[in-house]
Assembly symmetry: none
Homo-oligomer: 422 residues x 2
């Protein structure tokens, strides 16, 4: 197996201007990980021959496989192929096969081929073609020096994907680049902090295979377990015992793996307990229902809900007491409880959950600041609430996100601790 590491160089001024997200780098990163090829650096550089040449010089010193994307097009600012050839002191030669292919593609589409397009048939002498069935620009597969591999791809994602799968993967396997894989599983947690969880699992963070790394996004705390092994199966076997131990440490805070959301976790429990759910939302405006129904098959347990944005809707459709709305205000414990109980009764479900809060930016006061949210929960026998303070300086978007996730998490913990089968 080849032991050096790979490097990705993305060429395009549009990346430096922030016009586009660098999704190609993410795609290639995932693909390399899947093949077990480590890569330590990604570089983005503009459509500038001098700076691209400098990036190539740096990459040659630290990597043995350099993967380029972008800059293969027909216009004058597409400089990748010429700059690579120039860097290694090799001339470009017109490839008859590629030229015929480009001509055929233009004929097929009934379009006139310009002189610009001819340029795409000029490849470094000695380089192999990396065929592009989706577009006119082919890439190259080239070893300009012993032990240094170069691959080029267009910046158009679907062309890159197709060329990667069709030609690059077999080539890399054939050349001995891929002899194992890196596989990851992510455990997801709610109700803990990144540092709190890291402290609890500190010993695991020192492991070498699999490795364990904590991170956080949108309030969800994650532990990523990554194993390097010969096969997916072998990687899973390295991951399984570690995942089991981490879940035991995380306890009830751990709600799922990989793509699972709190919506999936709640859905699974409701199905197990053959229970149904309805929601009543004020400040989240329907976002809680949208999260629940993002899960395919949620119609098994989710009946629907009432978006009671205006107080008259709270009164008329949910039966909230007008007196309580006056005395305690719409953002209060009694209103949250009556919303949860009301939606449960009207939609005839086992569970009702509600959210009423101040998402901001306006509407806060010293007594009831922005970020104050009451979450109500009701079942057949009882109704209760939780008071949350998500921070008066946080954005409307964040407060709404935290509200709907917290509401689902409260229901999840309740279902876990009081399993009821109907």
């Amino acid at each position: 197996m080849i032991t050096g590491s790979a490097e990705i160089i993305c060429v395009g001024t549009e990346l430096l201007l922030g016009d586009i997200l660098n999704s190609n780098a993410q795609y290639l990163a995932k693909q390399l990980a899947h093949l077990g090829i480590s890569h330590h650096y990604q570089t983005v550089v503009g459509d500038n021959p001098l700076r691209l040449a400098r990036a190539i010089a740096i990459a040659c010193e630290r990597s043995r496989l350099i993967i380029f994307t972008g800059g293969l097009g027909p216009t004058p600012d597409d400089i990748t192929t010429a700059t690579i050839a120039d860097f290694f002191g090799v001339p470009l030669v017109e490839n008859v096969e590629v030229l015929a292919d480009i001509k055929a593609k233009f004929a097929q589409r009934d379009r006139v081929m310009t002189d610009n397009n001819r340029k795409q048939a000029w490849l470094p002498e000695g380089a192999d073609i990396l065929p592009n069935t989706q577009g006119t620009a082919p890439g190259i597969l080239w070893q300009p020096r012993p032990g240094l591999h170069i691959m080029t791809f267009p910046g158009v994602p679907r062309e890159l994907y197709s060329m990667w799968q069709t030609t690059a993967v077999p080539y890399l396997q054939d050349q001995g680049w891929s002899n194992g894989i890196i596989h990851s599983r992510t455990l997801k947690f709610w109700g803990t902090s990144e540092s709190g969880l890291a402290a609890k699992v500190n010993d695991f963070l020192q492991l070498e295979n699999p490795t364990v790394a904590p991170y956080a996004s949108d309030g969800v705390i994650k532990l990523r377990i990554s194993a390097k092994a010969d096969s997916l199966n072998a990687a899973e076997q390295l991951i399984d015992p570690v995942a089991k131990q981490l879940k035991a440490i995380g306890g009830v805070d751990c709600f799922g793996e990989d793509d699972e959301t709190l919506g999936n976790a709640v859905g699974r429990l409701l199905i197990e307990q053959a229970a149904t759910l309805a929601v009543a939302e004020s400040c989240t405006g329907g976002g809680l229902g949208a999260m629940v129904t993002a899960v395919p098959g949620s119609s098994q347990y989710f009946m629907g809900g009432i978006i009671s944005y205006d107080n008259t809707v709270k009164e008329r459709l949910l039966g909230v007491s007008p007196q309580d709305l006056v005395t305690h205000g719409a953002v209060s414990a009694p209103v949250a409880e009556q919303m949860a109980g009301g939606v449960r009764a009207r939609l005839q479900t086992d569970w009702g959950i509600s959210i009423t809060g101040i998402a901001g930016p306006g509407g806060g006061s010293p007594q009831k600041p922005v970020g104050l949210v009451f979450i109500g929960v009701a079942n057949q026998t009882t109704t209760w609430h939780i008071e949350c303070r998500f921070g008066h300086r946080k954005s409307r978007e964040w407060i709404r996100l935290m509200s709907r996730n917290t509401a689902l998490d409260i229901l999840r913990r309740t279902l876990l601790s009081n399993p009821q089968t109907v």
Copy 2:
């Protein structure tokens, strides 16, 4: 004005594994362009001190402003601050002010501060704090050598955005980094295709200052107008006449600018016409209401809605005919119309809009494929529907996104063509 260029270094093994998209690099790239600061390279490196140090060495030679994101967290794999200090041979010292701030934040949230978090208060001697009001990890502003500026930010996007706007921008302007600006305005369109719009505005795509570029994301077609000028005001003056012409060409398809959504556009029209709105949702599960209420101040016109996921809810809460549900099915024109009319009547609003469709992946049939969606609209005098086919091979997420945007767009066009003031 300082003439050197900037470089972005994103630190995080999750980027090298392809676990996340590098949206921070795009954000910073846009922001640098906005300030007229050129940047020629972006580097991504993992949570590895040796490789990060090598990336810093390379960046110091070619750039005069190095912006780091990621690796400021409390866990052992967060190595950015220590590696930078070590590279420049400067010790880390505990910053009393930062420590007090972290302690206060933990106290506020009623959480226990761990020893891990203390680490976030250790900064290179002589570095200034780049305050973080959204999280515990501050960044640094530092000139480790004359003429070399360093800034560090956490990897959490909302913390980065807030720190950039609040502290980094004034600092860069103050230090003479920004002396001209590139300013952009984006016009947003719905109901046209990217190539169709590009063909209509082809002459504008050749302009040099401002430039005009078309792109698309999440079904919204955009034209970005970018001007380079000495001041924001001068840039706006270059943009204004072009924007006006492009809007005239786009006509009713153009719904807003920059951060405006279809929710903002509808909200503005409802306020102008002093009209109120209610929604009835099936396959979007509350997502339409969430979109309407993402707009601050939407309580002026949005009363609420009914999430009628289950057919019993459609019947009982919206008054949909059980016979029509049997004869035509839940995803049908009569049901969409009765949902819109029903929610309008029950919530006593001027307008009612409804969505019922098959979001998939299951539930499709040859007669009613995945992606078939009916949108209903009701006002005081009339009720009608639109039938949409968003594609049977599209994802659940895409179909739900297109459904809620299309529903809002239909209401927007209706309000534009039939202005009614109450």
